[in-house]
């Protein structure tokens, strides 16, 4: 239980699309219940505040801080550290802060290549002198201008600061927000204890476990051909994997309420892996490779045939690690001989 009747809340974004700020608005009418127990003291998207306001607040004066977005430049890192100093409880809110998210896919490249594409190669760029962003620049009158340093690699929030809780998903759904609301309300009223530090506020099982399309225990799924969701009209009731459509359900944490599945779209894995596995991609790779059917003529298949078979899976890295590359076992792509 906190020491005051009303707690304070701050929201800060890093490398984020601001969708997570909108996810807070998606508390909908329940937002008033949140405001009854918590004052939002800092949120650049929702309130008229400046960064200085946050910096001037005394240390640990904010009860709960929600940081959303990945860490990919020095500004993100600086404010992640400031948030850690000012907040008693720091929550990594959303897939980017939790696992690196979509910005984390930049780990297939590096700073030099990204700068070259963005500031040189794109069709609409006219940069004959090859000028790249500088972190510091002084004009002839002596005015100094600065820009944050762009990192070579994208990090998740807990790579740079200590994080108390994680709220996954891109963005956290209404169902998950309600879970947080009940937790915060119960805690402020002294009825609930907070979960152990480091908890992910969601389920411990995989999405398949709560999926309405799960064909049931003991039923084996076997596919011969992988289909792209863009090529077929999926059956609205049948399991996506049974239809040969890649769905990350077997390797993804449950707790989102499966809104994508309800909208007839397969899971893309934004909730990240469960705590039982080390790597979401490795887990999905096993699941997918295991349902490529074994037939009676298995012995006639050569290794090349198998290679052809599995190479139906285009871009395994991008699909299996769409939201979790910076927190995967290998973190990023490297250059080998």
């Amino acid at each position: 239980m906190p020491d005051k009747k009303k707690i304070t809340l701050a929201l800060k974004r890093g490398a984020s699309c601001v969708g997570c700020d909108i996810a807070v608005v998606n508390f909908s009418e329940k937002l008033f219940e949140l405001i009854e127990v918590a004052d939002i003291v800092f949120s650049p998207t929702l309130l008229d505040v400046k960064y200085d306001d946050l910096i001037k607040m005394p240390d640990k004066s904010i009860t709960i801080g929600l940081y959303h977005g990945a860490v990919r430049n020095s500004d993100n890192e600086e404010f992640a550290k400031i948030m850690r100093e000012k907040c008693q409880i720091l929550i990594a809110y959303g897939a980017c802060a939790h696992l690196g998210g979509i910005p984390g896919l930049a780990n297939v490249s590096n700073r030099a290549k990204i700068f070259e594409t963005v500031y040189k190669k794109t069709f609409s760029t006219d940069n004959p002198e090859g000028i790249y962003p500088q972190t510091e620049w002084t004009d002839e009158k002596g005015h100094k201008l600065t820009l944050p340093e762009f990192y070579d690699e994208v990090y998740a929030l807990d790579d740079v600061v200590d994080v108390d809780y994680y709220v996954p998903a891109c963005p956290p759904t209404h169902v998950m927000n309600m879970q947080i609301l009940n937790l915060i309300k119960g805690w402020v009223e002294g009825k609930l204890e907070l979960p152990p530090k480091g908890s992910v506020i969601a389920e411990e099982k995989t999405l398949c476990d709560e999926c309405p399309r799960n064909p049931g225990k003991g039923k084996k799924i076997k596919i011969d051909k992988l289909r792209l969701i863009t090529e077929v009209e999926p059956d609205p009731e049948k399991c996506f994997l049974e239809q040969g459509i890649l769905c990350l359900g077997p390797a993804t944490r449950a707790g989102c309420g499966a809104p994508c599945i309800e909208a007839n779209m397969p899971c893309r894995g934004c909730m990240g892996p469960t705590s039982r596995v080390m790597d979401q991609g490795g887990s999905m790779l096993s699941a997918l490779a295991s349902i490529f059917g074994v037939s009676e003529n298995e012995l006639e298949l050569s290794e090349e045939d198998i290679e052809k078979f599995v190479s139906q899976m285009k871009d395994p890295l991008g699909c299996f690690y769409r939201f979790s590359l910076p927190k995967s076992l290998l973190h990023r792509v490297v250059q080998d001989k």
Partner: protein, 146 residues
């Protein structure tokens, strides 16, 4: 695993029923093999989760080999059919991660093929020696430090 650049870290997963027995035969036959590799025995090659291999590369492996029974010979009937699907897909993934495909290898070695085990190990170790340490070794050191 060792972070010493001169010493290579080569990991070989062998299944209990075929490849391990094949390796054993290579040993008792006193076939010459390099000493750079370390072996882990699993009950079946299908026990080798792709995560294990990713974990090995993360922790400084320069090359990983998975060896199991020939297709049709699996002690558990179809374990190696799953293995070859998983490992083929893993190979594509590792290539996307930027690793040279030679750093990962899948081989079938029966209990009677001591000679083949020695030959495959010699080939594999020599290939890894040519490639040198894995680029993930340095990346990991940088990440741990900062």
């Amino acid at each position: 695993m060792s972070n010493n650049d001169d010493k290579l870290n080569i990991l070989v997963f062998t299944c209990n029923w075929c490849a391990y027995a094949g390796a054993d035969l290579a040993g008792v036959s006193r076939l010459q093999m390099p000493t750079e590799f370390r072996q882990i025995r699993t009950m079946c090659s299908a026990r080798v989760d792709p995560e294990f291999i990713l974990y090995a590369f993360k922790n400084g492996a320069d090359g990983v080999m998975v060896a199991g029974c020939h297709p049709g010979d699996c002690h558990y009937i179809g374990g190696n059919y799953r293995t070859r699907r998983r490992m083929a897909l893993l190979k594509l993934l590792l290539q996307q991660f930027g690793l040279n495909p030679k750093r990962f290898r899948l081989e079938w070695v029966s209990a009677g093929e001591g000679q083949k085990f020695a030959q495959v190990i010699n080939e594999f170790v020599n290939e890894i020696k040519e490639l040198g340490p894995s680029p993930y070794r340095k990346k990991q050191e940088v990440r741990d430090a900062g």
